[in-house]
Symmetry: C2
Subunit: 128 residues, 2 copies
């Protein structure tokens, strides 16, 4: 049995988000993407990717001189893991609680609420 997937750290998540959005990318590309939000050294990103590679969080293609990285797991799976983890750790498994607190403190649009209803319908339909 391979060790179960690790929860990504804050920085790792930022990198994963870039990879999920862009698809396979070089360090340069990831660094550029992250630099739009915050200042960050190139080698910092490189080091993180190297660490993530050893963890299996990302995969690396070395056929090009500039290695190409991609997320090791589909975004869906990692997001589900993170949401599920918080569900357990903070809300004792209650999705209602989680949603209530997520909605509190922000002004959700009518559209978003409609979307939530739609998702519930769909979820229930697929559930049986």
């Amino acid at each position: 049995m391979t060790t179960s997937p690790q929860k990504p750290t804050a920085s790792e998540l930022e990198i994963l988000r870039v990879l999920w959005a862009r698809g396979p990318s070089t360090v340069r590309e990831i660094h550029d993407a992250l630099s739009e939000k915050k200042s960050l050294g190139y080698t910092t990103v490189l080091k993180l990717l190297q660490i993530m590679t050893t963890k299996g969080t990302v995969r690396r293609n070395e056929t090009q001189r500039a290695h190409v990285y991609e997320a090791g797991l589909p975004a869906e799976q990692t997001k589900r893991q993170l949401a599920g983890d918080m569900l357990q750790r903070v809300f004792e498994g209650s999705a209602s609680q989680l949603m209530m607190h997520a909605l509190a403190g922000r002004k959700s649009s009518r559209e978003e609420i409609e979307e939530l209803r739609r998702l519930l319908d769909e979820y229930e339909r697929n559930r049986r």
Copy 2:
């Protein structure tokens, strides 16, 4: 301006959950509660509480020899902060995304789904 509330760490959250459930408690009480789930030294809990006191995460009443600790913020507020943080960091602010991933990978009861619908109605009613 006081510094904005810190996000509790994993261990701190475990302690906060005990405090939220029990109300003001001594180290001994907290330690006993946590010990039911996992083995953990008494002084480890004490140290954590001391650190949390300096951070303001908990408040300490020292009038008794065994100090009595209580959460510095109401559970609602901390939970909202945690959920909101994840909402931004993982789901780019989309509550639908968050809920969908929280529901995926678990078997929610019909009751829970009903509850979610009810919450949406209520939320929408209070929103205007």
